[in-house]
């Protein structure tokens, strides 16, 4: 394995960003209440490591539960929608309308139904992330090459056969691709809900810190959130690569 500069690029860019940030804060002596320098953020992160860990964990598991629900439900609904044109035509406007509703507006309703806590966060994460999965799976199914379908149908294949042999394998790259979008959205959903109504989680922590004027801690919360997001995205990207390598042949041949 050879060492390439390209592989170090993500680290260089990330570190460069923080260095630039630090420099700007020092040169213009920006008030840490407006924009804390990275050094302050990191020291806050170390000082409040305990609460950060605990709340990060809460956010992580609520996000993941919501995300997994979205995966299951999204896959199922995507298959149903992609299966039949009538269902597709019927459900699509409803889904688009549903997706257009800002999820922030739904949180108060969820709180009335389920009370303050993890459940609204899970449901918000679920609501915000299932849509891209449904759309992608349905698209994968709906774009089966007509010739390929003809080949099978002329042999007497049923609709189920066509779906099992072509539709579903064909939709898998779309599905795994959509997971990368869905997982980041799930974090957004969970944190939005935590910010509005929760007793734990990074969103809750940041709201609390904000009302105590602890800006470095707020930013430390954002940082933790970003790290979780990148981590889960990487897991989804890895899954995508493992499960549907055939769809990424250009990088495999390179």
């Amino acid at each position: 394995m050879t060492f390439r500069t390209e592989d170090t690029a993500p680290w260089i860019f990330t570190i460069g960003l923080f260095v630039f940030w630090e420099a700007v804060c020092r040169i213009f002596s920006v008030d840490s209440f407006i924009l804390p320098a990275p050094s302050e953020i990191f020291s806050a992160a170390v000082r409040y490591a305990g609460p950060l860990w605990r709340n990060s964990f809460v956010t992580l598991w609520t996000t993941l539960v919501g995300f997994l629900l979205a995966v299951g439900f999204g896959l199922l609904l995507g298959l149903v929608v992609g299966w039949s044109r009538t269902i597709y035509r019927g459900l699509y406007p409803v889904m688009i309308g549903f997706n257009s509703i800002p999820k922030v507006a739904v949180v108060p309703i969820l709180v009335v139904w389920f009370g303050v806590g993890e459940v609204p966060a899970i449901i918000t994460a679920f609501l915000i992330s299932f849509f891209p999965i449904v759309v992608n799976v349905a698209t994968g199914l709906a774009t089966i090459e007509p010739e390929m379908e003809d080949v099978l149908r002329a042999l007497g294949a049923s609709k189920l056969d066509v779906m099992l042999k072509i539709g579903i394998p064909r939709a898998m790259p779309y599905f795994f691709g959509s997971l990368k979008v869905a997982i980041t959205l799930a974090f957004v959903g969970a944190v939005v809900s935590e910010t509005l109504a929760a007793n734990a989680g990074l969103g809750h922590l940041m709201t609390q810190a904000g009302s105590n004027f602890q800006m470095p801690l707020v930013f430390a919360g954002l940082l933790a959130l970003a790290i979780e997001g990148i981590g889960m995205y990487a897991v989804c990207a890895w899954l995508e690569y493992r499960m549907t390598g055939w769809a990424h042949r250009s990088t495999m041949n390179a």
Binding site: V151, A154, L155, D161, W246, R249
Partner: protein, 259 residues
């Protein structure tokens, strides 16, 4: 083997009904190699769908093997201009696909897989793809994919092979090579072939009978026997009888296109 009796097919287009075929009659005998040529958009592909039972005629009757076609015929193999290999399956798995669908192979697929694999490998061997079974389609050239596609259309021993411009996307050398592959397989197994093409040389080289279609709405306006002796060699393309035939067909199609 195939009989189209005054068949008309209309389908609903964006701007009202479109007449794809009108009053088409066609007969193809058992074991015959028939070619259908015609200007583009004349409903050649519609003809394929009618014969394989994918669409029903608006009027008239389609008979295959003595029975009126009411649904998918199940005895046909199909290949298209695009090889349509499934990229997540290896070449061998692609070739085996019809056996996973069509009876009686379907119910025995698990039990007799070894036998079927051997059969697929033998078929791959006849088209010059031995040893390529474990490759993925996208690791192969267009010509090789098309060979594999031909194997897939033949794996279930179809008594009817429907080819829709299967060699149109290939370069001239590969195309002629595949003509010979198809010729050899056909001469060995002796199934019925309907080859839709716009390549008149291809039709003249391979077919027993050439049917010329008119512009849309399509109709068979001329049927010509090819009396070139068999077995045919690529050399025959330089035979004056061959050139004459191609010339006549070309004129016929030019006429139709102007009409």
């Amino acid at each position: 083997m195939i009989e189209l009796d005054d068949v008309t097919l209309a389908y609903r287009g964006r701007t009202g009904p479109v007449l794809a075929l009108q009053g088409t009659s066609l007969k193809v005998g058992r074991g015959e190699f028939a070619a259908v040529v015609g200007p583009s958009g004349c409903g050649k592909s519609t003809l394929m769908k009618l014969v394989t039972g994918l669409v029903k005629p608006t009027q008239g009757r389609v008979l295959v093997d003595g029975h009126e076609v009411a649904g998918p015929v199940k005895i046909a193999g199909m290949a298209f201009q695009n090889a349509n290999m499934l990229p997540w399956r290896t070449v061998l798995e692609n070739v085996l696909l019809p056996l996973e669908i069509v009876e009686p192979y379907r119910s025995k697929f698990r039990a007799e897989k070894k036998q079927y694999v051997a059969r697929a490998e033998k078929l791959l061997d006849t088209v010059g793809l031995s040893g390529f079974g474990s490759r993925f389609p996208w690791e192969m050239s267009g010509g090789m994919q098309q060979r594999a596609s031909l194997c897939r259309s033949l794996i279930h021993d179809p008594s009817l092979l429907m080819l829709d411009e299967p060699f149109a996307a290939l370069d001239a050398f590969t195309r002629e090579e595949l003509w010979c592959v198809l010729r050899d397989v056909w001469e060995r197994i002796g199934f019925t072939v309907v080859l839709v093409t716009h390549d008149l040389r291809e039709a003249a080289f391979l077919a027993d009978t050439i049917h010329v279609m008119s512009a849309r709405p399509g109709r068979i306006i001329e049927t010509r026997k090819v009396d070139l002796p068999r077995p045919r060699d690529l050399e025959i393309c330089y035979d004056p009888r061959f050139s004459d035939l191609v010339q006549i067909l070309r004129h016929k199609i030019a006429e139709v296109r102007q009409a």
